[in-house]
């Protein structure tokens, strides 16, 4: 007989997430047969941004998420520059990459040691590490002790990664140096020297501790290479521009359908959003975010999340007066998607593959930063940014946990509309109008659950995505009759398309 388990709160992630799974006997074993992911906070950043000075967007949007603020500051700066048709100087591009890269390193180390590892290892005999579920802890005492001591060392390493980024960013979290038109800090030689000293220590930690620990985890829990696959669709916008126009990136843009084949192009126009299972009016179902008008309906029968369900590549078919819309496919986003699209990690799609690709990406980004730091020169860091009276723009980049896009409409020199689509909106989305579950929901199906009172296997699958609900659930606002959640109104669509094929 099936049992339902609610995990609320799902701890050791950013923000508010509730997971509900149904467990039943499948071929003699207890497995998840159904899962629902619910985001349980909304704040309404778009409403707050409306009518504000566009120059405020980097500072305001960074406060969407204290774990990925750098990505939002960068996306907002890129978006405003796109609207004004300006390009940041090379020094600015490089310092942005260095601060963003520092936060990638910080976030990935934090994720593995402080958010994920306690699903596999029991910590010291005191809060906040106890109580912990005892189920399925496989390491012997000596190995457990080493991993726990690395937890403490990783606290120091992630702190140093933030100190490294703050050398240019000003402070972390919420670095104030991200502005449209460039960057505010100058690349003084002593800062470059300090940056590279921090980086050397971090690269040693990644090589000598982080990567081996992920290897040890993979050996002890090799079954997790076949748990948590999900749909197998991977999406990356790409990040770390290597030239002013962003034509070349350290991690490319692209998508993978069904876990096979070469990377396909990404066209932002192909994104639509379902609301059948979200607390919004069904009359707004499956709209392109660029034209989405959404009204909250709370409570609403069948709905279970404030998140909408972003999908890629849907189709509409007209028969007489009736238009039938088929939503596109759900896509997973994050380090595995980035590394796969880049052709650097294609072993598989699972809990353990997410950890392994994340660790490998950490090293790749850290090593690249050491080269970038030497490319800083004496040229300008900033060119005066003049806010256009009326313009639209967008910026696509990556947060540590996946693809991030910002879109703006400026009218009368003010923000007329601002829209954000975050990685965890993709990963933690509910079902779409065709009833297809979101990526985390699908990844949970088939997961074995040995002990219904301690469903640690469910946590392992959820944590492997590094969900960031702080980001994901900001996008709704309850003002009656107003737009709630939309990518919104990007223009210059040819430019989007061209950008998509830049690789």
């Amino acid at each position: 007989m099936p049992s339902t388990i609610k995990i609320d709160p799902v701890t050791r992630l950013e923000g508010h997430l509730k997971i509900e799974v149904t467990v039943d006997g499948v071929a003699g074993a207890q497995k998840v047969v159904d899962a629902k992911a619910t985001g349980t906070l909304f704040r309404g950043f778009e409403a707050i941004l409306k009518n504000r000075n566009p120059l405020d967007a980097p500072d305001i949007t960074q406060r969407i998420c204290g774990v990925c603020p750098v990505s939002h500051g960068l996306a907002a700066s890129m978006t405003l520059e796109n609207a004004a048709g300006v390009t940041a100087p090379d020094n600015a591009r490089i310092m942005r990459n260095l601060v963003l890269g520092s936060n990638f390193v910080q976030s990935h180390i934090l994720h593995f040691y402080h958010l994920a590892v306690q699903d596999f290892v029991s910590g010291p005999d005191m809060p906040p590490w106890q109580p912990n579920w005892a189920a399925d802890k496989r390491f012997d005492a000596a190995t457990s002790g080493v991993l726990v001591s690395h937890y403490v060392q990783a606290l120091e390493m992630r702190r140093k990664a933030h100190e490294m980024g703050a050398l240019f960013g000003g402070r972390l979290p919420h670095p104030p140096a991200f502005v449209p038109g460039g960057f505010t800090t100058t690349p003084r030689p002593e800062r470059i020297t300090k940056f590279r000293a921090y980086l050397a220590e971090l690269i040693a930690f990644i090589n000598n501790v982080y990567l081996p620990d992920v290897g040890a985890l993979a050996n002890a829990y090799a079954d997790y290479y076949s748990i948590g696959r999900g749909h197998g669709n991977l999406l990356a916008y790409g990040v770390f521009d290597l030239d002013g126009a962003g034509q070349s990136k350290l991690l490319r843009r692209g998508r993978i359908l069904g876990g096979t084949g070469s990377a396909l192009a990404v066209d932002p126009k192909a994104i639509t959003e379902s609301v059948t299972y979200s607390w919004y009016s069904d009359t707004t179902n499956n709209l392109s975010p660029s034209s989405g008008v959404t009204q909250p309906v709370y409570p609403k029968g069948g709905a279970y999340s404030w998140l909408k369900a972003p999908r890629y590549g849907g189709a509409s078919r007209r028969k007489g007066k009736r238009v039938t819309v088929t939503p596109g496919a759900p896509y997973e986003t994050g380090p595995l998607a980035r590394m796969w699209v880049n052709g650097e990690y294609t072993r598989g799609i699972s809990v353990m593959d997410r950890h392994a690709s994340r660790a490998q990406e950490t090293l790749k980004v850290a090593q690249a930063m050491d080269v970038w730091a030497t490319q800083l020169g004496s040229g300008p860091v900033y060119q005066q940014y003049v806010t256009p009276t009326s313009a639209s723009g967008f910026g696509l980049t990556e947060a540590p946990r996946g693809a991030l896009g910002h879109w703006v409409d400026i009218s009368n020199g003010k923000i007329g509309n601002y829209q954000v689509l975050t990685p965890t909106c993709w990963n933690a989305s509910p079902r779409d109008s065709a009833g297809v579950p979101g990526p985390i929901e699908q990844a949970l199906v088939g997961t074995p659950v040995a002990n219904l009172d301690e469903p640690v296997e469910v946590l392992r699958v959820v944590h492997s995505f590094d969900p960031c609900l702080s980001c994901a659930v900001h996008v709704m606002r309850p003002a009656e009759g107003s737009k709630i959640f939309a990518l919104g109104h990007y223009h210059g669509e040819d430019e989007v398309h061209e950008h998509t094929h830049s690789h």
């Binding site: 701890t11 704040r43 998420c65 005492a141 606290l155 702190r159």
Partner: protein, 301 residues
């Protein structure tokens, strides 16, 4: 298997030697054996971004407690923190409910309290009986018998960015919702040294004098501009100019209370004005104002 404190220390000592980890961390752990407990702290997150928790992890000081690990191991008994605690689901909810049924705990709140939809804009946990507890209910029940309420950051203290016009989810401060006085550790994010200072004062029983906004006077007694090494410098004309005063560009240092120019940020790596950018006034009760980056912009003109 669970590791005892003593095993933890010995294992850490062995691996630390192999890794060349310095003496500071070892002294932290040695103290853990001597001081097995501290006041119970429950840390709740509401309409927040997690930035203040991340900032706390950046604590580094030459004075004890030197790091966040030191704070957790030696100073407080952090029984509930959504990002750090091992327990999840009903195991986590049970801890919160147990603390709520007791008294004398320190309640630390990160984030404002949404009141729209009857509080359903933010949920805290699901009880064993399946009922959902809103963040508003959680704060209210945990504030009732708390020995002290700490507002960690500007959002909990006054609403902050989620409460900015038009305040889409009806965010209120912890004080407004609970009717109880709060110690307001301002900032967006707040500084780890400010959090640790406040915890240290509370644990040691030292009195804390506050300003009219509930901020500790010891931390927020002077303006950023008064303490700023750039205040006598020439005015910067644009971003990207080293060692110049940013007041003419719209720096809010002259009206913002805080000791950032002295503490600096991130292990003294940098701070806002030393990256040639503005103080945007993140410790101010009116943050984020109607604009952050202009001297002239008005939101409703």
């Amino acid at each position: 298997m669970t590791i005892s404190r003593r095993q933890f220390l010995e294992l850490f000592r062995n691996s630390a030697a192999a890794l060349g980890v310095g003496a500071v961390n070892l002294s932290v752990l040695e103290k853990a054996l001597a001081q097995p407990g501290g006041p119970t702290v429950i840390w709740l997150q509401g309409s927040a971004c997690t930035g203040c928790s991340v900032s706390l992890l950046n604590r580094i000081s030459s004075t004890s407690p030197s790091t966040t690990a030191d704070v957790l191991i030696n100073i407080i008994n952090l029984r509930y923190h959504p990002n750090l605690m091992a327990a999840a689901g009903k195991s986590a909810a049970a801890i919160a409910e147990e603390i709520a049924g007791g008294s004398g705990h320190i309640l630390a709140v990160e984030g404002g309290v949404p009141t729209a939809f009857g509080g359903a804009a933010c949920w805290a946990w699901t009880r064993a009986d399946g009922t959902d507890v809103t963040f508003q209910q959680a704060v209210t029940m945990l504030a009732a018998n708390a020995a002290q309420i700490l507002c960690i950051g500007t959002c909990a203290a006054w609403g902050g960015i989620p409460a900015a016009l038009p305040n889409p989810t009806g965010v209120r401060s912890v004080r407004e919702v609970t009717g109880r006085p709060t110690l307001n550790i301002a900032g967006c994010p707040t500084h780890p040294d400010w959090i640790v200072w406040a915890i240290g004062q509370l644990v040691s029983g030292a009195p804390i004098s506050v300003d009219s906004y509930g901020r500790p006077a010891a931390l927020f007694g002077k303006t950023v501009h008064e303490l700023c090494p750039r205040r006598e410098r020439e005015e910067a004309s644009t971003y990207g100019q080293d060692y110049l005063c940013l007041e003419e560009l719209g720096c809010k240092g002259p009206s913002t209370k805080g000791n950032c120019p002295i503490t600096l940020w991130n292990g003294r790596a940098n701070w806002c004005c030393d990256s040639n950018t503005l103080c945007i006034g993140c410790t101010d009760p009116a943050f984020p104002f109607t604009n952050l980056r202009s001297k002239t912009y008005a939101i409703d003109d």
